[in-house]
């Protein structure tokens, strides 16, 4: 740390040490959107530098400019003190910048080795390049202990390991500066910790790491310096040791934010949802939910935690009537509503089940539609929306304006295309559509994914208000913070099974993390006890 500070002071005109990256006055517009406004940034060599900001703050744009995906309208990029003209990712790689994308760019059917040499095969005949690559990989492996078998097929690797393959790819190309874009979104807390240990090793070897994230916890845990972006501007640079999550979140949003949700005790009443031995298969016939049994009572929020892809999505979709049950049964207030046999999403809606799906763009709305068209999705046959044989667009418009006012959707314009709202406002519109129907059961998946902090606060309050109004809420989220602050009881899913239940009071990140990785709850608590 003191090293870093020394470097920070030592940079500049006297020229002792140049920063690894220096951006001066980077400016970028997309049409009318000013994504980056005169951004200045210095990243010191051999440090881990965090960049935080809400969605749409311009972090990804800035990094895409640095990596050559976009050209800046103005400003300069300096790497190691040298002015660089980065026109494409080739240029970025040649000056030693490597990037690990949020969505991996891997060929799943290829082996690790084949993926790593993709694009740098070194000649038309593979054999020479491959054997050289193998040596090089072994060296990198020794140096950074990444624990990857070069001959494993990438598709068979876990998400955490796939991410390491991406890191390996960058290192193989001689990256001295590694940019990671939201790297922990798909990882368990333990996998994330492992990633941070790898980054630490990289730093010790003199590499520079730029970490883009919206999770303040990770910034605090892993970085040396942090820069905060808001609405296209760089608003602050801090040393991590000298700042706090509260200060950072305030800088990100531009006002004070409540990080902890205040809510009263739950008063659970009658059982609303009773899931018994439910099994769900995906389209390929693979069993994704295995013998799930649980209940949700009126007046409580039950959270489902788990690493993304462990069956939560399929569970939620089955309960919402989108997927059929392969086995088992579902009861709603004592009546059988097992999905599949004549019970589809429309039928469940009629019976008072509201569903805010995990994937807003793919499922919750048609982004090409106007807000008012989006606001009746699933409820288009409602009587108040009809005028004879036709839809009553005036009434729908009014109802939409009402939803938008109630849930603070901005701009309050029912005729605007859904795609033109920000993520947070889209999500608020979906929540308004589902919650304002006054359902008995609210199914909600990833309610705050891609939503800015200000809106998160609002959405959380609304979900708790549903609970306090005596409704049953089932919450699926991969954000442990969200589950822990909202849920009264927490179910943990791993590989399709619910491996245990933890009350909110006794939940903590380590226990949940171990359970998410498939460790038996009793064992997890024992491990926790030792630690």
């Amino acid at each position: 740390m003191s090293d870093t500070m020394h470097q920070m002071h030592g940079t500049g005109e006297n020229g002792a040490v140049h920063p690894a990256i220096e951006l001066r006055g980077i400016d970028k517009r997309f049409g009318a959107v000013h994504a980056n406004k005169e951004i200045d940034l210095k990243v010191d060599k051999g440090t881990i530098h965090g960049i935080v900001g809400e969605n749409g703050a311009g972090k990804s744009t800035l990094m895409s400019i640095l990596y050559g995906f976009y050209q800046a309208d103005g400003g300069t990029i300096h790497v190691d003190g040298e002015l660089c003209d980065i026109k494409g990712s080739d240029d970025a790689i040649s000056v030693g910048i490597g990037m690990v994308h949020q969505h991996f760019m891997l060929v799943e059917t290829f082996s690790v080795l084949e993926n790593v040499i993709l694009g740098v095969e070194g000649g038309a005949v593979l054999r020479d390049g491959v054997s050289k690559a193998r040596e090089e990989l072994e060296r990198l492996e020794r140096e950074y202990s990444l624990n990857i078998d070069p001959d494993a097929i990438v598709g068979d690797l876990s998400v955490g390991l796939q991410q390491r393959v991406e890191i390996l790819k960058a290192l193989y190309r001689g990256a001295e500066i590694l940019i990671l874009d939201e790297p922990t979104g798909v990882l368990t807390p333990q996998e994330a910790d492992h990633l941070f240990r790898i980054l630490e090793t990289l730093k010790e070897q003199g590499k520079t790491v730029v970490l883009i994230t919206h999770k303040l916890r990770e910034i605090m845990a892993a970085t040396d310096n942090v820069s905060v972006m808001r609405q296209g501007e760089m608003v602050a640079h801090r040393k991590t040791a000298e700042t706090s999550p509260e200060e950072l979140s305030e800088l990100m949003v531009g006002r004070k934010v409540l990080l902890r949700l205040e809510k009263g005790k739950a008063n659970p009443a009658d059982t609303v949802l009773k899931v018994d031995n439910l099994c769900v298969d995906n389209a390929q016939g693979v069993r994704k939910v295995k013998n799930a049994t649980f209940t949700v009572r009126a007046g409580e929020i039950v959270g489902v935690a788990g690493v993304s892809g462990n069956g939560q999505s399929e569970l939620l979709e089955a309960l919402g009537g989108i997927r059929s049950a392969a086995e088992g049964s579902v009861e709603l207030s004592g009546q059988d509503v097992t999905p599949g046999k004549g019970v589809d999403a429309a039928e469940l809606r009629r019976r008072g089940v509201a569903h805010v799906p995990e994937d807003r763009h793919r499922m919750a709305m048609v982004t090409a539609f106007t807000a008012k068209e989006a606001a009746i999705l699933g409820y288009e046959d409602d009587n108040t929306y009809q005028k004879g044989a036709l839809l009553d667009w005036d009434a729908i418009s009014k109802a939409t304006a009402n939803m938008m006012a109630e849930f603070d959707v901005r701009p309050n314009n029912p005729d605007l295309k859904a795609a033109n709202f920000s993520g947070g406002n889209q999500q608020k519109l979906v929540l308004a559509r589902e919650i304002m129907r006054d359902p008995e059961l609210l199914l909600v998946g990833q309610p705050t994914r891609g939503v800015d902090i200000g809106a998160i606060e609002f959405i959380h309050k609304r979900i708790v208000a549903m609970r306090d109004a005596g409704k049953a809420v089932l919450l699926v989220s991969v954000e442990l913070d969200e589950i822990m602050s909202l849920a009264d009881r927490i179910l943990v899913m791993c590989d399709g099974s619910i491996i245990g239940e933890v009350s909110a009071a006794e939940a903590n990140e380590r226990v949940l993390g171990l359970m998410m990785a498939g460790v038996d709850p009793k064992e997890a608590k024992a491990v926790e006890g030792q630690a």
């Binding site: 009318a32 994504a35 009537g321 999403a345 982004t367 839809l391």
Partner: protein, 372 residues
């Protein structure tokens, strides 16, 4: 991040198609020059042939009628995310329905026959579209593949029926018997004549009025009914439709059957209105041109009407052209029509990126000026 600026409607549905059309005409002009004729003269003859005199108008609108029906047919399926290129076959089989109704129910009075023939066309056309629709919805067979195959099947089937079943005894030509005079759709010039207005005779008949009425109904259907909403939802995002409880397969079948029914209305114009009997290949490619009409008209009934008018003009004016200038053969006219289809249909997005760029720059400058 890189959110594209949306073009205002007047550019999207006005300027861009006009630019495409202009480009098509420029390339056509070069071709005309290449064979040693004067492009200006050609355009003059084309326009005069299409609109220059009363009779020409009648012919132009008669072609337009066909294009409205096939254009609407394509558009309805397109709103459901389906590329129905089977209008040709669906119209052909629809024609069979019309003919059978007219030949075997000829005892019915005209007003009832109006409805019955329409229903017969709808049922036959929709039924022909149902099979590919079912295969798409329930078996995942791509509708582009199946509909084009069904065009061939329809063609063979109709040849068989016309040669072996419908051909009157003793006739050497593969076509059905004439339908009874009192069942034919009245020509517009006859209607006008009855009202005391003198009009030049042309094949334009009552089905043109049908086409206008149906256009309005389709507009209402797509944007103002629950089914229309459901069809658009399935077309834009089938996953969201499932989430909403709108089973995509069901609406795929509904949209395709409506599409088939619309195609078959073309047979009303041709069989009931003009030919008064079922002819081999009476569909003559109108089904395929309907695709270009719908794409150029942005799948909106009003746009389709304008695009259909354009193609009606090209057909009628083109016929006049090959008559007036012998060096411009009929094939040459087809080439010009093909160029228009190419530039307005297949390459409709060619100018879009550039137009977006120019428009964005213009707006930025305007915003900047307003800010000052």
């Amino acid at each position: 991040m890189s959110k594209a600026v949306e073009l205002p409607r007047w550019i999207d549905v006005g300027v861009l198609p006009l630019l495409n059309l202009l480009l098509a005409l420029v390339v056509s002009a070069l071709l005309v020059l290449a064979i040693g004729e004067n492009p200006v003269e050609v355009v003059e003859i084309l326009l005069f042939g299409a609109f220059g005199y009363e009779e020409a108008w009648g012919y132009t609108l008669y072609y337009t009628t066909n294009f409205i029906f096939t254009g609407l047919a394509f558009a309805v399926a397109f709103h459901c995310g389906l590329f129905n290129i089977g209008a040709e076959g669906q119209a052909y089989v629809g024609g069979l329905g019309v003919t059978l109704a007219a030949l075997y129910l000829d005892f019915l009075p005209f007003p009832i026959m109006l409805v019955v023939s329409m229903l017969a066309a709808m049922i036959f056309g929709a039924a022909w579209a149902y099979i590919p629709a079912y295969l798409q919805a329930r078996r995942g067979s791509h509708v582009v593949i199946t509909t084009i195959m069904f065009n061939f099947i329809a063609s063979s089937l109709m040849v068989y029926l016309l040669v072996n079943v419908l051909r009157p005894q003793g006739s050497m030509t593969p076509e059905s018997e004439q339908i009874a005079e009192h069942l034919r759709l009245p020509f517009i010039h006859d209607i006008a004549g009855a009202l005391g207005i003198e009009m030049a005779s042309s094949p334009l008949n009552l089905s043109f009025v049908y086409a206008i009425v149906i256009s309005v109904m389709i507009w209402l259907f797509i944007w103002h009914t629950r089914w229309g909403y459901a069809i658009r939802t399935v077309g834009a995002n089938a996953v969201a439709a499932t989430y909403a409880g709108l089973e995509p397969g069901r609406f795929i079948i509904i949209a395709m059957m409506i599409s088939g029914a619309l195609s078959s209305f073309m047979a009303l114009n041709e069989v009931m209105g003009v030919q008064h009997r079922l002819l081999i290949d009476f569909t003559a490619g109108y089904g395929f041109v309907g695709i270009a009409v719908a794409l150029m008209g942005r799948n909106h009934p009003f746009g389709i009407f304008l695009a259909a008018l354009l193609f009606g003009m090209l057909y009628q004016g083109g016929a006049e052209l090959s008559f007036e200038i012998p060096t411009i053969s009929n094939d040459m006219v087809v080439v010009i029509q093909g160029l228009v289809i190419l530039f307005t249909g297949a390459m409709e997005h060619m100018f879009r990126p550039r137009a977006t760029k120019i428009y964005t720059a213009w707006r930025l400058r305007r915003d900047a000026q307003e800010a000052v």
